[in-house]
Amino acid sequence: MLNLACLVPIFPLIGSIINGFFGLRIGKNAVGKVACGSVALSFLTVLLMFASLLFTPAEERLFEQVLFTWMAAGDFAVEFGFQIDPLSMVMMLVVTGVGSLIHIYSIGYMHEEYSYYRYFAYLNLFMFSMLLQVKGNNFLIMLIGWEGVGVSSYFLIGYYFEKKSACDAGVKAFVVNRIGDFAFLLAIMYIFNIFGTIDFSDVMHMAPEKLIYDSEAVTIICLLLFIGATGKSAQIPLYTWLPDAMEGPTPVSALIHAATMVTAGVYMVVRCNVLFELAPLVMLTVAFIGGTTALMAATIGMTQYDIKRVLAYSTVSQIGYMFLACGVGAYTAAIFHLVTHAFFKACLFLGSGSVIHGIHGEQDMRKMGGLKKQLPITYMTFLISTFAIAGIFPLSGFFSKDEILYHALMDGNIILWGMGATGALLTAFYMFRLVFMTFWGESRVDPDVHPHESPKVMTMPLMILAGLATVGGLLGIPLVHGWHALHNWLEPVLHFDLASALEHSKHMLHANGEHAPSWGHLLVEPEHNVWVEVSLMLLSLGIAITGIVGAYYCYVKKPDLPGKFIKGQWGYDLVNNKYGIDELYDETVVKPTVVGSFFLWKTADQKGIDGGVNAVANTIGWFSKQARVFQSGFVRNYALFMVMGFLVLLILMF
């Protein structure tokens, strides 16, 4: 049953090829069917595989399928193979599941588009690469998908390619991602350098023996990997592309820039958890970067008026949470949040899409308001998801976020928890600000636009996702040991024996004749304290409600309050234009590169090198012009030259 693995990515690929090359001929209807059909097919296959994986005993839940050897040079050989284990299974379920919903939604959303086929070709291509990425059994296959999704997102962001902003956003996204990939590539090479293989299972298996705990090598590797992750998952310092990526069609934002692609980084970190466990320094970095990103993005989110940008920043911030979780070693929590986030954030984006669709492409919240009557379904689903993301019991967001915060406090420290908690507060605030500004209050929609609820094909996915957002929490019921389904499910992947790893490290250090520091304290497990957890839950619930109330107060009770409050605050301005990070990058990186290149071309290349080459030629030409002067035509000069030559020779001779 698991042998179907290879089929999963094939379906979307075929779909994409059909749509890409024959899309125009077969007509919109067929295109939609092909696209959704292919993804649905792979979703079904995944379900089948899930079932069969479910019924294999936990310790045998690792299945590798090798199709062929991709590249081989000397002892370097990469198989083109897939790895099916609980982790990749979760990802596949999310990707194909949410993916197919969004495909269906797109049929409705994009139906006026001329190059409808192009859109679906790209979207299928994305599914293909995303699946490759989560299923690859070694780093390079992952990299194929990793860059594949990058390209497809480049296409999809630049889908409206006649808008300059869209194109720029696309290029920006791709290039920034490339910076991440650059680090990722180096990491892979380094890994091969040490392990002699880049196969996930082998590397993870060998890591404890080959790498010394907290040694330079492992730190560098993990750091590089993490940089790669930040590129893909829009974390500080490489997050700037994601907000711009909202230039793409909304379903794309939902699928790629919320649910699946941007979480690839998290997936990768979790996939390499063994390595990260060995690099405590990097772990700490990850945690802090995650926390900071969560906080900062949230603050920016509060100030934005473009409905999609608010969501974009919230995405950045939520992924920050996931990294925070990874950083403190709570991988389950990270994946858990990844899943729930996929649900509610996809729902939110699709909802916003439906809103935009309903009021004919308006994205500015200041031109919305009071839409809950015209768009009831959208409103309901949107509200549910908002509650979920704000972390209101018993919606999915509550559980996942809460678990992260708990671990942040327990395995991390109070600062990390503080960041998370503040982030939660802000999240609740800006999300409800969004809801209130969009759906409540009196309508600010310009009069000649008549908002209307979206067709069923669009609302249906909304409802499904909202449902998932509601019940998703059940995956990880806290408090009671053993009820945490996701935790049990992922256990075989995340199992890591720190003690033995440390032993190995000690041995290796002694082999090198160095003294191993005392790592005893690392092995004491903080005992699972139910009461702390409960109190934390209540606390965070409180925080969330505070945020909501705050938002209600500012945007429903006294809508004019924020305006007064923020007037002339330099802090607000700073946040409002995103801490000027984009400008900073422009000034420090982009411009110098371009100017420098011009210098290289115009001065170094044309004047310098080529100038030199031509100078040689010209010099010769000049000399030859001089040389002919001697040929004066006077016999006596010629004779003179002969005599002079004779004298010169004499001088040389004697």
């Binding site: 000399f623 040389a627 001697f630 002969m642 020779l649």
Partner: protein, 477 residues
């Protein structure tokens, strides 16, 4: 009564020279009856040349020396005899259509060529200073006349005058050098000189060295090496095209052989001191030759300068002073003969009734108008530039090889860099032919015999480039 011992003379080995002299006189004699139509003379002289060429191989057991070692016929001289007769024959073929068109009616023209060839043959096998002097003078005097054979043309006159005056001037130096050499070593036989130097019976080294410097001037003038080259461009330009071609190949080759014999066989020991001089001369010759050629707009002048630079390469072979050098020169001159006669054949073909069309700008658009001729010209240019797979490349490889073998790497590097420069102006002609549009229409009269000469030359250039082995073997004996 005592009787004077007559020097041993091997007439068979002298056959080429003798035959040619006889035929020369015959031609002069026939000229009396020939009247307007010179075909008879042409025919006679061609026969003479062919016979001479054939008879060169008559002598089997080489080397043979006559006149008490003043005259030696060895493989080198046989091969060169071949080059001479061949080039003279081609010259005559070229003249057949050129002369009437350009108002050269003198019948002695052909006789002079034959006599000149005799001189070259003598020069190439002379092993005695006197003999060398004699040969050089025979050649030069014939050439003075040939250069000015277009009596009513001022340029032709000027050419011959310049050539004559400077030639005589140079002869002065040459003879003086020979005199000093003779004085220093007490003999005029090259072998004797070599022995004298070898066994250290030299009366005065100063005189010896002075002599060799003077010789460098003398020979330097004949082969047109810087700074004794200045006559060349003017004379080449002024003289009738076939004569120019003739001058560029035959006499130069002869002088080179003599040069080689004197410096490489007679006074190699003092080489240590004169090869620096020769190197300077060689480098100057290459550089000035190429620099001069770049700016030329007149094809004949351009070729004159290019031939100067080629002399530069050939001098390298003399400097190398090894057997390879001699055969390298031989091969090079053979290849060069093909290229030059081909090129001049085309130059003549492109002449019009009224003008000779010597401006290279007239070659523009030839690639379209006369693809075949353009192709041949391209081949000659590339071959002159030393590009494979043509004769010029093998020749250059040979020469450079001779020098590298003796370890003159720097010299060789300079040479190759020069040949890059030279490529520039050879390419310039190709550029004109293929990449420029022609300004004016030429009313060409493509004449069969000249075309045939070009064809032979093309064949030779390619053959010696692709399958040089037969000729290499000839030279390497």
């Amino acid at each position: 009564m005592e009787h004077i011992p007559a020097p041993a003379i091997d007439f068979v080995s002298l056959a080429p020279a003798l035959i040619l002299s006889v035929f020369g006189m015959l031609v002069l004699f026939l000229d009396l009856f020939a009247g307007k139509n010179k075909n008879l003379l042409v025919f006679a002289s061609l026969i003479g040349l062919v016979l001479a060429g054939v008879s060169a191989f008559a002598q089997s057991n080489l080397p043979v020396s006559s006149f008490g070692g003043a005259y030696i016929v060895d493989h080198l001289s046989v091969f060169f005899t071949l080059i001479f007769t061949f080039s003279s024959a081609l010259t005559i073929l070229l003249s057949i259509e050129y002369n009437p068109r350009n108002g050269i009616r003198a019948g002695e023209y052909y006789a002079l060529i034959l006599f000149c060839t005799v001189g070259m043959i003598v020069l190439s096998s002379a092993t005695d200073l006197i003999m060398i002097f004699l040969g050089i003078e025979v050649v030069s005097i014939c050439l003075y006349v040939l250069a000015g054979i277009k009596r009513d043309d001022v340029r032709s006159n000027e050419a011959s005058l310049k050539y004559f005056l400077l030639g005589a001037f140079a002869t002065g130096f040459l003879v003086y050098g020979m005199a000093l050499l003779y004085g220093a070593t007490g003999t005029t036989k090259l072998a004797g000189i070599a022995d004298a130097i070898h066994s250290g019976q030299v009366n005065s080294d100063t005189i010896l060295l002075l002599g060799s410097v003077l010789l460098i001037i003398g020979f330097g003038f004949k082969v047109a090496s810087v700074p004794f080259h200045m006559w060349a461009p003017d004379v080449y330009e002024g003289s009738p095209s076939p004569v120019t071609a003739f001058m560029a190949v035959g006499p130069k080759a002869a002088a080179l052989v003599a040069f080689y014999r004197v410096f490489a066989t007679a006074i190699p020991e003092v080489g240590g001191s004169w090869d620096t001089l020769l190197m300077v001369v060689a480098v100057l010759t290459m550089v000035i030759g190429n620099l001069g050629a770049i700016v030329q707009t007149n094809i004949k002048r351009l070729l004159a300068y290019s031939s100067i630079s080629h002399v530069g390469y050939l001098l390298i072979a003399i400097i190398a002073r090894n057997s390879l050098g001699g055969s390298a020169i031989a091969f090079y001159m053979m290849a060069y003969a093909f290229m030059i006669f081909g090129t001049f054949g085309i130059v003549i073909l492109l002449g019009e009734k009224d003008s000779e069309n010597l401006e290279i700008s007239n070659y523009a658009g030839l690639g379209v108008k006369q693809p075949a001729i353009a192709l041949c010209m391209t081949i000659f240019m590339l071959s002159l530039g030393g590009m494979p797979p043509f004769a010029g490349f093998i020749a250059k490889f040979y020469i450079l090889g001779a020098a590298v073998k003796e370890g003159y790497i720097i010299l060789v590097v300079i040479a190759v860099l020069n040949s890059v420069v030279s490529l520039y102006y050879y390419l310039k002609i190709i550029v004109l032919m293929y990449m420029k549009e022609s300004e004016r229409e030429l009313n060409l009269s493509i004449t069969p015999i000249t075309l045939a000469v070009v064809a032979i030359a093309v064949f030779g250039t390619i053959e010696m480039g692709l399958f040089p082995d037969p000729i290499l073997q000839l030279t390497q004996q």
